[in-house]
Amino acid sequence: MHILVCGGTGCKSSNSDLLVSTLRNELLENGLDKEVQVVLTGCFGFCEQGPIVKVLPDNIFYVGVKPEDAPEIIAEHIIKGRTLQRLLYEDPTTKEKIQNAKGMNFYKKQLRIALRNCGFIDPERIEESIARDGYAALGKVLTELTPEETVQIIKQSGLRGRGGGGFSTGLKWEITAKSQADQKYVVCNADEGDPGAFMDRSILEGDPHTVLESMAINGYCTGADKGLIYIRAEYPLAIARLKIAIGQAREYGLLGKDILGTGFNFDIDLRYGAGAFVCGEETALIHSMEGERGEPTFKPPFPSEQGYMGKPTNVNNVETYANIPPIILQGAAWFSSIGTEKSKGTKVFALAGKVNNVGLVEVPMGTTLREVIYEIGGGIKGNKKFKAVQTGGPSGGCLTEKHLDIPIDYDNLIACGSMMGSGGMIIVDEDDCMVSMAKYYLDFTVEESCGKCSPCRIGNKRLYEILETITKGKGTIEDLDRLRNLSDVIKDTSLCGLGQTSPNPVLSTLDNFMEEYEAHVLHHKCPAGQCRDLMTYWIDTENCVGCTACARVCPVSAITGERKEVHLIDAALCIKCGACMEKCKFNAVYVS
């Protein structure tokens, strides 16, 4: 028997480590430690319900498990064979308790290729990876296929870069393969930096071997014998698991000299990033690895021709790599049968924001936003009204109600004014102010711009300042023209992808939510009630009973009134902290 416990970063922060040790102690005390194994796996994806525990072979899926639940799981489920009803997932609509993950809406529409092993194997044991076909693709490639044939398979599969750009992976490999040099490099871009995105982290934490295997295949195809993983130092768990995985792969002869006796040499080292978003851009990433300032340089030359240390370098993202072994094993035709005409396979999204089922989902390309948000995501939290979904992180744009039925793929998202990006998906509801959201993303870009080119360095700062003025109620209608012109120029003139996309949140909110901007600048009102400077707190004379609770809680003494008489808020003093509203038991405080 196996008890799988999610060891992703989310569940770990909800104490899954303690849960594991408690489970193991209980088994030991009951003398079952030889028969039942507790395995710490990678992310299951259903982070909203974490920590998650799965019992095999019964295939029972427990959610929200706490360390104190461990004795009961062992006593009831393991020893007596009785499923713990209270820890099962309850369908929010039917109120039915569901035992098997396959029965949950969250998993029903998902197709897991990149995440195929996450939540199934112990990422710290190479044997478990091998048991699920790990390194079989590498073996096949080395013994049955030439590098050219392998590249052809990748090309035919239609796989496109999952890091955001969407460039054909096979073509990239082909260009690197054709570059002539005495040394070439294979690089894995694990510098995931979009706010709210954790696709790559989860793959590295849950299935590190798939990335190592793919990099070796890439090395075989392109003629590189050295692989480097550029990973942000803020991913300590992923780093730890990668280190273990590399050590095990070397031990098994799957990395190093003469791999599988074929004469092919390939080894991998880690390079740590200091957490700069711009270092996800491949030229900046390469400069950072070289020990230089993490700044992009113009292309050409492309890294495939002149990259790390001036040598041809193939840079692919983690998720792209995770797709390679299944393509090799199951064929290009299988992979290209999934998805839309120009976007093949699946895409992993990190679902976040005002959605019921926050987590990691992998769906075939062509799935609609509605399916992702309402079926997999379980709809909007608290039955609020859906307003928009931001895809592509700070580089993307927001999509609205009218975009919900568009099949998601690279080209459709761009056509709607957003982009795939690396797969962040943040849902906002009626309580969210779109001007503030644009401002939030610009705040991020201002922080993360490398500062090399003037439009990105200064332009984004100015965009942020204008948005700030608007959310403070001091904007004018002319500011909206300035926003648009500045956004257009920043996109048109910036050096790298960061600046070329950073105004997207501004432009797409201007396009889709002009009325919100107008409300801010013309009427000095925030329709979502989120911009504090535009809110006024009032006391309803009908409801106020003069209990004085609000006056006593007000930190700036802005509320006056005698006992048992209607109270008054002095708007000039009020700092809009909301303490009075929270305190009032009579619904007498309101905002307009």
């Binding site: 002149q306 711009s449 500062g451 090399k452 439009p455 700062k461 300035r482």
Partner: protein
């Protein structure tokens, strides 16, 4: 490879593969504005970060605008440099740059010679639509250079010069985004960095962010003080560049006008650093011969090659990076300091003035000279041998302030005795000149024969590292020359590795030597300005009646009356120096690609 055909603003252009859109446009008379781009063609110096985005153009079929400096021409391209989209983008980017720049043009040191100001004018900026927070940094004042980073536009030219060309590693881009700034590591002051004060960052700065420490007021005050005798020396490279500050063509020699101007300014004696250059040759040339003779006699302790020591930035550089090699450079002081030492002893005695009442000033193409004259070892009882070193630019400013119409000045001669010099001294101003001057004298002393050919073309040029073998009547003398500290580093590394067999090496820190110094009128990225100055220097040499240092009669007189002979005890005391280990942080300079 086949040539590439394209059109720029509908004009057909044919270019070699690899040509940038910017250069291609120049071929058909289209001048695209630039800010960060810098290309000194003859010196192989290029700054092309593609950062300012002022030079953007529209390329048909391309999604966004292309930086013309960094985009290569491709067959069939249709390029537009002045569409509404381009003009709007360019103006908007310029407004953004100006929005983070102080509006103090009227009192800025660079006003009138500022590339940013000129480009803003050319683009017709009349309003800044995107005002906002501005960057503020504390002013950093070193002995030579002032950094006012509020005015920095992140063109990164200084960083390129400091790292790629000079391999000094004092200035780097630090911080991110709006907080980005070019600064020494950890935003320390320049004085605490590895800076050599070569001033090449100042020479290429397009704004007032990097300027020299201004000593003109001290000069004005000294000249106004009746108790002081104020004398001035002028370095050879100044006369070949000063005219540019008054609108004259680069390469115009203004020696006579410069002397007149200095006399009008009220200097009591106008002397020539060239006199001290001749003196340097006597000392350094003799030292070379002494070391060479010892070496040839089998004394293996004698270290060769001997390296020149006239350039103060170079001295700072090897004290910083190669302190273990401090016995290799000549111990001879630089001409500026030799002049100061002789002026405050020999000449002060001659005119009966106490050294404290004698103010020795110098006009230099150099900013490191400001630091050099403040070194403790060049002071007697706290009184410096040279009180103030002005740059060529500061002299030009002083002349303008004093209502002197430079262009209409007559020619005057330097005063005697320290105004007389040979052609050999004049060529100190260019790369290859010091060693050529040394060869002219060393040859005649060593062989006892008269040189038939005085000009050594094989030592001249603009290549970063050059070498030649001069036949000393059967003894082949191997000579190396480097200008630019990166090139110097390369030569020093080969000395360390034992892979070079030079007897003597000349090193100058600045591109082209002193003519390209950090204190010269700005070249604005036109390398022809520097080569024209070089031509002027050689012109003056040719026109001189005396072209060898040891034939300068006043030098002979100085030895007869005062010093005795080269390398005498008095010479050692006054004309030679010693070096220090000043290494601070060990910085590894990554190889440039």
């Amino acid at each position: 490879m086949d040539k590439i055909n394209l059109t720029i603003d509908h004009k057909p252009v044919q270019v070699e593969p690899g040509t940038s859109l910017l250069k291609a446009a120049e071929q058909v008379g289209i001048k695209i504005p630039t800010l960060c781009y810098l290309h000194l063609e003859d010196l192989n110096i290029e700054n092309k970060p593609g950062g300012c985005r002022i030079c953007v153009v529209e390329v048909s079929g391309r999604r966004n605008l292309a930086p013309s400096c960094a985009t290569q021409c491709q067959e069939g391209m249709e390029v537009r440099t002045n569409t509404m989209r381009v003009l709007n983008a360019r103006k908007t980017v310029m407004e953004l740059i100006l929005s983070d720049h102080p509006f103090d043009c009227l009192i800025c040191a660079k006003s009138g010679t500022c590339d940013l100001q000129k480009t803003a004018q050319d683009l017709g900026i009349r309003e800044i639509h995107y005002k906002g927070e501005q960057s503020h940094y504390k002013e950093d004042r070193s002995p030579s250079i002032i950094r006012d980073m509020d005015k920095c536009i992140l063109c990164r030219r200084c960083e390129m010069m400091c790292n790629e060309f000079q391999t000094v590693g004092a200035l780097w881009g630090i911080n991110r985004g709006f907080m980005s700034v070019v600064a020494p590591a950890f935003e320390q002051d320049l004085e605490k960095s590895t800076c050599t004060y070569c001033g090449q960052c100042v020479a290429v700065c397009p704004t007032g962010a990097l300027t020299e420490v201004d000593h003109t007021n001290q000069i004005i005050r000294a000249l106004a003080n009746p108790k002081k005798k104020v004398i001035v020396q002028t370095a050879p490279a100044v006369r070949a560049a000063l005219g540019e500050a008054f609108g004259m063509e680069p390469g115009t020699l203004v020696t006579g006008k410069m002397v007149s101007a200095l006399k009008e300014l009220g200097f009591d004696y106008v002397f020539d650093t060239d006199f001290a250059a001749d003196l340097t040759i006597m000392e350094e040339g003799t030292e070379l011969l002494k070391r060479l003779t010892n070496y040839l006699a089998g004394n293996k302790k004698e270290s060769l090659p001997i390296l020149t020591s006239c350039c103060p930035a170079w001295v700072n550089f090897f004290e910083e990076y190669f302190p273990e090699m401090e016995d290799i450079p000549s111990t001879a002081r630089s001409p500026q300091q030799m002049f100061g030492a002789i002026a405050k002893t020999y000449f002060a005695d001659k005119i009966g003035v106490d050294r404290k009442d004698l103010v020795v000033t110098s006009i230099m193409p150099c900013l490191a000279k400001k630091y050099e004259c403040q070194r403790e070892e060049f002071k007697t009882d706290g009184n410096p041998d040279v009180d103030y070193a002005l740059s060529t630019r500061e002299l030009a400013a002083l002349i303008k302030q004093s209502n002197i119409d430079f262009l209409s000045l007559p020619d005057s001669d330097f005063d005697k005795p320290m105004g007389e010099s040979s052609g050999a001294a004049v060529i100190f101003g260019t790369t290859g000149g010091v060693i050529e001057a040394a060869v002219r004298t060393a040859y005649e002393i060593y062989t006892g024969k008269t040189l038939e050919r005085i000009s050594f073309e094989e030592l001249r040029g603009m290549e970063g590292i050059r070498h030649a073998t001069i036949d000393f009547d059967g003894l082949p003398i191997n000579i190396g020359i480097a200008h630019g500290l990166g090139n110097a580093r390369e030569l020093l590394e080969s000395i360390k590795a034992g892979t070079c067999n030079f007897h003597a090496i000349e090193i100058m820190a600045c591109p082209g030597g002193c003519i390209g110094g950090g204190g010269q009128p700005l070249h604005h990225g036109v390398s022809g300005v520097i080569t024209a100055r070089q031509r002027a220097i050689y012109e003056e040499d040719l026109a001189k009646p005396i072209r060898k240092s040891h034939e300068n009669p006043y030098i002979k007189e100085l030895y007869d009356e005062f010093l005795g002979e080269p390398l005498s005890e008095k010479s050692h005391h006054l004309l030679h120096t010693h070096y220090f280990d000043r290494s601070k942080v060990k910085v590894v300079i990554p190889k440039t690609k």
